[in-house]
Symmetry: C2
Subunit: 354 residues, 2 copies
């Protein structure tokens, strides 16, 4: 790649994955067909989806009593599917409010059931993760593990007596997690898993019983579980790309990637913390290793920096519309060279280059 892409998602993909996809684009494994043309009922595609699930189970050590579903509609459709399927006993869901995405999840749930905030870092302007002891008797507790906009992350799993549902969209497979501590884990693929258009849902089998009798087939988790994500045509090419990404992670070694993510984030934070121009506002213990927001103290200077960075082939560093400033997303596929280049450009800008 000729640029370093810091986009929050869709985001940078590993070059070997893109090269493999390119080489197979017209003829997948001698079949004379593109993966884009494969029937989802063909043996070739069935092998792809099975292999994708098997790699995920291996890398995340997913216990057998969890089902792995490949859906569509992004995390946003999950914001509806979760309450429709799971908030059917008490019709009430509790949320830990950690900012923008947890609020979006809550607003959608409110269209169907009652919601309640059991902890919030709003008073801290979302620069930390709440540490309150959680009490809940709702149908489930929802958390957003990594907060893409605010640059925060949970580092320990809240202890509750109700099922725990976690949005892992921007940090899945960037660090080890103990799946057995969660009841549902979901994630859009366009950050660490592959391309836009596929949503991973890992759900504890016993929760499939909660779905009410009356609900359209696509919206039911049990439909997709029963049919192994092949009830209707799944996003075949996105699933194939996820397979390639998982193969790449396995080849590199998951531990190696986790360690690289730690080091890359640490070096960017180290630079920001000693800088007299740039700064990151997040409480040190709650800092995300995937999404690192930072600013100068002036909007105009931020804009100048973004242009300076772009002239040096560092793209998509603009912060989210709602918060402004800059944001560097350092997903698994971001090479160390990219982080080094970013730090070098930050230094040059701080020293007065324009």
């Amino acid at each position: 790649m000729t640029v370093f892409n810091f986009s929050a998602g869709p985001a940078v993909l590993p070059v070997p994955v893109l090269l493999k996809a390119q080489s197979e684009l017209l003829n997948y494994q001698g079949s004379g067909q593109s993966v884009l043309e494969l029937s989802h009922r063909s043996g070739l595609f069935e092998h792809i989806i099975e292999e994708t699930e098997s790699l995920l189970r291996e890398l995340l050590q997913i216990p057998d009593h969890y089902r792995v579903l490949f859906l569509q509609g992004g995390a946003t459709l999950q914001f509806s599917m979760l309450p429709l399927n799971l908030a059917t006993v008490r019709q009430r869901v509790d949320f830990i409010d950690t900012g923008s995405w947890s609020q979006k999840a809550m607003q959608d749930a409110e269209a169907f059931i009652q919601t309640n905030i059991v902890a919030s870092s709003k008073a801290d302007r979302y620069r930390s993760i709440p540490t309150d002891t959680i009490r809940s008797d709702a149908d489930y507790l929802h958390i957003t593990w990594n907060n893409t906009l605010e640059g925060t992350t949970f580092t320990s799993v809240p202890t509750v007596d109700v099922p725990l549902v976690a949005d892992f969209s921007s940090s899945i497979l960037s660090e080890p997690i103990d799946v057995s501590q969660f009841d549902v884990i979901y994630a859009g693929a366009q950050k660490n898993l592959g391309s836009a258009g596929m949503t991973l849902v890992i759900i504890k089998e016993d929760l499939l019983q909660r779905t009410p009798d009356r609900l359209g087939s696509y919206l039911r988790y049990d439909t997709h579980a029963t049919h192994h994500s092949l009830y209707n045509t799944p996003p075949t090419y996105s699933i194939y790309l996820t397979k390639l990404v998982l193969e790449w992670i396995k080849e590199q070694g998951f531990d190696t990637i986790v360690e690289r993510n730690r080091k890359q984030a640490a070096s960017l934070y180290a630079y920001l913390d000693q800088s007299t121009l740039f700064s990151n506002p997040v409480a040190i213990q709650d800092r995300s290793r995937m999404n690192i927001p930072f600013t100068t103290s002036e909007t105009e200077l931020d804009e100048q920096f973004l242009q300076f960075a772009e002239r040096h082939q560092l793209v998509n560093l603009k912060g989210h519309r709602s918060v402004g400033g800059m944001r560097a997303s350092l997903y698994n596929a971001m090479p160390t060279a990219g982080v080094d280049a970013l730090i070098a450009v930050l230094e040059r800008f701080e020293q007065g280059e324009r």
Copy 2:
């Protein structure tokens, strides 16, 4: 391509589209980024989605008071979204029953509202399209324009006083349609529009008012209309592929493609009708030009033929699990050489070759 792929979907794509996608896979228009890596908020992607809509509007002559939405979840998610958004006045939907897919649409609608069959070709074992005069005072009338399994197609638009909603998944852009005669047209992309993972919805603007106050954001047509399909991350690569397919259609000439589809289907039907071994059961006036089912009279012979065809590089000719036999899907991207090869292989098999 080294084979001819008769899959009902995901299906054959035009070779020039695959070559273009391959050449741009690592570096889209000199950006140093793959389309797979483009932020959906980037200027580059915004141009792709705008161009896709503009080409669709041009080719289908979509009037200005219709909105074009690029969604996910396939036609199957539409089976839920349609009643949730549009059956909000009388909470009742009428259906013309033309077989498997119209029944699936109806079963999903029943999870939310009352349904009613106003005409059916069940008595004819779905070998024709009902010609009954339709009376409806429901919230809308739903039809499946082209029936992928049964090999039938509507050839004229039913006249009704209520909004008309049509599933065009397997025939969109294969023939001219007068969009203004419909209120909603929807189609999965994996047959004539591109790849699995994108669903096209063309909806008359005034229907957007029908959505109830309480409904999750992804499930609301007005969410996607207001945000030009960018409320959340759309299936970016599928949209890009649709753009390439539309450019290819425009280059070939839409009329040329329509004429080719007619000729190709006509030559396969002509062979089947004179054959003493193979036959197609559909009433002549209602025959699909996209999906052509046929059988010998013996299951075992069908199986032998499928193996014979596969040895001659003709793949995915197996009929749908629920009906058996064979089915040739002749979407826009199927070259005349593919249909000629199929007829030649049918002839050789009929003459006793095995």
